[in-house]
Amino acid sequence: MIWRIAWRNLWRHRTRTVIMGSAVALIYGLTLVGLGINDDGHRRMLEEATAAAGGDVLVHDEGYWDTRASDRVIRRGPDVLETVRSQPGVRLAIPRVLVNGLVSTSAASSAVHLRGVDPELEARLTDPADDLVRGSFLAGERSDPIVLGARLVEKLELELGDRVVLTASDPGGELTRALFHLSGVVETGTRELDEMMGYTSIEAAREAVGMEGMLTQVGALAAEEVSVDALAAGLRTALGERADGLEVLTWREAVPEMVGFIELDDALGYLYMGILLVVVLFSITNTFLMAVMERVRELGLLNALGLRGERIGHLLLAETVLLTGLAMAAGFALGLGGHLAVDHWGISVAAWGLEEIEISGLDVADLVFYSTIDPAKWALASALVGVATVASALYPAWKAARLSPAEAMRFYE
């Protein structure tokens, strides 16, 4: 009987019920869509951040990541690379020689961050050749190819095949010079990268700065079933026995700005949703209080007839549960529809006019957000919205339960 009365009471003020239900449905649906977009955006950012960092876990000579000093090199490169490669949970180990130096032509000179890479291995993390706009990516027959960023090429007034001189310090601190030939031009869309980035083969880089048998960095990609932290811990143990003086960083430690951004973005997102939810809940509480005031005499009548106060409170809560159930069903449909639409068509960050934003060297404007369902987060959001909405009727229900029947029956007499 309580549920029957509650259900019919809902439709006594159809417009009010529809407005209240729509508010809950909208906030719930938007929360789900927001979570989906957020999660997918963060997932992509993490992938990009991992790529930008060079792997899930990075191994360097101790202090390299902070100082980028040329003498901080992994002197037993093959040994360390093999140790990383053979570590359980490592999907891929990528060796790199990283050189900070100066590239010069007869026209100009400019700073360069040159990465000596194995193109095939790099392509399995993120393929730099995807950004190629001219020439080829280290694929020619030359032993001294160099691929430079588009802005750097423009500054140095270079054409494909032109000679470029690299000046850098070797691990002993001595200046070295090496000749390269421009084989390709990359354009990432990120000003900093396009002004400073360069690639060459790992062999050519070693030869240029006298690093035979040495590496600057080994990037490790974790197998799906292995957590990054567990992999880093395993590598620390494994490397600690073979090579003292190495540092093992997770990508989180390597690019803390990105982690901070994601955490801040998450916190702001939750705060925004929380504020929306609180506003909606206050309106629901207010509406239910109005509903109690409008029905004081009727609730008093029910009490006079023998319905206990707590059951009158239950009646109000039953109305809320029904309203919440309906609203959440509609909200879920809205959220699911929104998720499917966003996942199908995507939302481009560039369309929001954020072309200039970079985080940890990652060009945010390149991102197109899609949506990913995280069942645990959706369940948590559903529980929060459901519980909070029903909780918003607790005070009105308590008020209704405490009504004195004699006073209530005098109401509106």
Binding site: L302, N303, L305, G306, G309, S404
Partner: protein, 250 residues
């Protein structure tokens, strides 16, 4: 009180005699309402007995305490002083939950207006108290349909209150009040919003039910039609029993 009715005071407010088998006993009941700093006395030391099967009216001007006394007897309110006993229960000492249970088990109410739950049909309103008491479905149907038929609403069971006239709504309320076979039916101005023809019909009905089912009725009323039909009339004035009149069968 009509002249032709045979009236004679049996007991007065002072020196009252109390029957041992009274269904309702009111002893020295006072009620004071507080409005901020202001104390408004509604009842001032009322003593009253009511036997089972009576058809009694409480009459008096507005503010004389009729509804307040009815509320005390129906456990809708508790006295500031004194005691009210109904069917052996000291109703003034019941907590909220116990009072609700007491009303459900012992009292049937008929109010002046807004008497029915608007979202329930006539049948559902009439069976409401039976449902609360957990009466089995078949028994509920038997009692409610029988009573609705008796009050002439057999073909209106599925109508909701807005689809019923004032008189029809009061008939449903009477059925609801009687369906649980209460010890007493308390009716607060039951005819106030009805025309004289409908009032008369309802009073006929209640008198018939009083005779046949021996249900005790206590009215609070201004309505002379009701007062004329009552076998006992308790006149209240300024929160006190002014006089009690009894008469032969009306």
């Amino acid at each position: 009180m009509s002249d032709e009715a045979a009236t004679a005071p049996v007991v007065g407010p002072e020196g009252a005699t109390w029957s041992e088998d009274a269904l309702i006993r009111v002893r020295g009941v006072s009620k004071v309402y507080r409005q901020g700093e202001l104390e408004v006395p509604a009842l001032r030391g009322v003593d009253l007995d009511l036997a089972e099967g009576e058809f009694t009216a409480m009459a008096g001007p507005s503010g004389s305490g009729k509804t307040t006394l009815l509320n005390m007897i129906g456990a809708l309110d508790s006295p500031t002083e004194g005691a009210v006993s109904v069917a052996g229960h000291d109703v003034g000492t019941l907590d909220r939950g116990e009072a609700a249970d007491f009303r459900l088990d012992h009292v049937g109410f008929i109010f002046q207006a807004y008497n029915l739950v608007p979202v329930l049909t006539a049948y559902e309103n009439a069976e409401f108290t039976l449902l609360l008491r957990g009466t089995p479905k078949e028994e509920r149907r038997e009692r409610v349909e029988g009573l609705l038929e008796r009050v002439g609403l057999a073909d209106m069971m599925d109508r909701r209150p807005p689809e019923l006239s004032g008189g029809q709504q009061q008939r449903v309320a009477i059925v609801r009040a009687l369906a649980t076979h209460p010890d007493i039916v308390l009716a607060d101005e039951p005819t106030a919003n009805l025309d004289s023809g409908t009032s008369g019909e309802l009073l006929d009905l209640m008198q018939e039910l009083n005779r046949k089912l021996e249900t005790t009725f206590l009215f609070s009323t201004h309505d002379e039609t009701v007062i004329r039909r009552a076998r006992r009339v308790i006149r209240l004035l300024d929160g006190r029993v002014d006089r009690v009149e009894t008469r032969d069968e009306a």
